[in-house]
């Protein structure tokens, strides 16, 4: 019962359906950009996107009209500023309105943990004296059956499919991850289906001991996709392209420039290798 190895196009084609709840996780590190681009290429619609930090990848998916709903806790371009496409969707409904299911990081972490453990809700000491619960009916309270204390409660997140990017898989489909992991493990284990794109595939991984390993039998599909996290990064393989993150601010600022860029570099390219090549050509 080894994991299936698929092309990215087949993995997205099989696992992502219009209207599905889809999480692309990876906190700054190992963001599955190539998977997001392929979802855009296959023109999926009405997705419920889930991600703690939407980042450029969801700015792209939202701007290209893939999403109807967003569950998130921080929606900016880290260290740079706004996600202009996310803002345009929320402020002006372009290209379509976007329903927000808004949390704090701590709340969303609790929701992913609950999802991974198949508990119906997660709890935390949080949200206290903020306006978030008033705007999100999914933030409630639960009373401790021992002390009577009131705690914040959030419903479990269980995506239909979670996409992750990782450094390496073995031929059985076990995936090893190193570096900043955010809530990737919980998002992976909370999902009904799990697809992982990886930088490389090796014959055999060394025992991970206490490191993070996703066993092959919890993974639906592994995709060999070098550079699949770019412009995010893969610790030990390539660094974050901070200059691209800064450059994105100008690309995404207006609708026309954004559409032209996406047309040229994503829709106009067959796959992630072609996407990266097209950036190389532009830089030259």
């Amino acid at each position: 019962m080894s994991t299936r190895f698929l092309s990215l196009a087949d993995a997205v084609g099989e696992h992502v359906h219009d209207g599905a709840c889809v999480a692309l996780e990876g906190f700054t590190h190992l963001i599955p950009f190539a998977a997001g681009h392929e979802i855009i290429r296959q023109r999926r619609r009405d997705l419920h996107l889930v991600r703690m930090t939407p980042d450029l990848v969801y700015d792209q998916m939202i701007g290209m009209g893939c999403a109807r709903r967003l569950t998130f806790s921080w929606g900016g371009n880290p260290g740079v500023g706004s996600l202009h496409r996310l803002r345009d969707a929320v402020e002006h409904g372009w290209p379509q309105p976007l329903q927000l299911d808004e949390h704090s990081h701590a709340g969303m972490a609790a929701a992913y943990c609950a999802g991974a453990a198949r508990l119906p809700f997660g709890m935390l000491r949080g949200y206290q004296d903020t306006d978030l619960p008033a705007h999100n009916p999914r933030i409630r309270t639960v009373a401790c059956p021992f002390t009577g204390q009131s705690l914040a409660a959030v419903p479990a997140i269980n995506p239909d499919v979670t996409f992750l990017h990782a450094q390496v898989a073995d031929r059985q489909g076990n995936v090893a991850v190193a570096g900043i992991i955010g809530a990737a493990r919980e998002a992976a284990l909370a999902a009904k289906l799990l697809v992982v794109t990886v930088e490389e595939i090796v014959d055999c991984l060394p025992p991970a001991m206490n490191g993070l390993l996703l066993p092959h039998w919890i993974i639906s599909a592994v995709v060999h996709c070098p550079g699949g996290a770019y412009p995010s990064y893969a610790q030990g393989h390539y660094e974050r392209d901070n200059a691209f993150y800064q450059h994105w601010d100008a690309i995404a600022r207006d609708r026309e420039g954004f559409l032209a860029w996406m047309g040229e570099h994503v829709l106009g390219q067959r796959d992630n290798r072609a996407f990266l090549s097209s950036l190389l050509v532009e830089a030259a």
Partner: protein, 252 residues
């Protein structure tokens, strides 16, 4: 601002660090008077010692120099919520006179004038850190009498409201801004002028604040940057600029 904030941090203190000014201030402290400061970034890096400032909260530099990297759920539950953080550094788009913060939205939530990034770690940092330092530039639009949205609790309506609400952390110890510092009044907890950068007048500070700013019992003058502080900060910024501008080889 960065230097003034760095001076408030002590050696060995455990800081939950946001990106931007807070990260610069914490690393400056580490490179000057507080070599054993413990920097926790919400990405899960504990004890990071970056050589250049990260652009994002999760640059590889942080993981590679950290004592260890834990998951985001763990950093929030086992460290922040468990009360292990001495100082939380927070930015925001708006602060009100009781140190409550808005980083969610300008205008009504459902039809916003400006949609901001949102809460991130802030609500729980503000709730649990033993104290928080707030850093933001002052204008009457950012230092406001009433927030458009309360993302993170400061002293609520003041006069002990925060303590009565049962918040475990101590709330904002000060607000560091471009004219100086505000600090809460010991009883009303209204933010008052606590100190000015040298050369800045009280009127200038008042003009930048959207509520009638009261002077604190003592309004100090913040010592100008020392040569060593400036040199270390400029070196750090220069290294950072160079690193972020370095063209990256595409992973092809």
């Amino acid at each position: 601002m960065t230097i003034a904030a760095a001076r408030l941090l002590w050696d060995g203190c455990v800081c939950f660090v946001g990106i931007g000014l807070p990260s610069a201030a914490c690393n400056l402290a580490r490179l000057t008077h507080a070599p054993e400061i413990v920097l926790i970034y919400e990405s899960g890096t504990i004890g990071a010692r970056p050589d250049v400032l990260p652009l994002s909260i999760g640059d590889g530099e942080l993981a590679a120099t950290a004592a260890c990297v834990v998951s985001l759920p763990e950093i929030f539950s086992h460290y922040l919520q468990a009360g292990r953080v001495d100082v939380g550094l927070l930015g925001a788009a708006q602060v009100d006179r009781f140190g409550n913060l808005n980083s969610t939205v300008i205008g009504p939530y459902d039809s916003p004038h400006t949609r901001l990034p949102g809460a991130g770690g802030a609500p729980e940092i503000a709730l649990h850190a033993r104290q928080t330092f707030v850093m933001l530039k002052a204008t009457p639009r950012s230092f406001v009498p009433t927030l458009d949205f309360r993302t993170s609790a400061g002293f609520l309506e003041g006069s002990g409201a925060r303590a009565r609400s049962g918040a475990p952390g101590g709330g904002p110890k000060c607000v560091i801004t471009d004219f100086g510092m505000l600090a809460p009044h010991p009883h009303t907890q209204e933010l008052q002028l606590a100190a000015l950068f040298s050369g800045v007048g009280v009127d200038e500070a008042r003009a930048a604040v959207g509520w009638p700013l009261s002077p604190g019992a003592h309004v100090g003058i913040i010592d100008p940057p020392e040569a060593r502080e400036l040199e270390i900060l400029r070196d750090l910024q220069a290294r950072t600029r160079a690193a972020h501008a370095r063209p990256m080889t595409l992973p092809l």
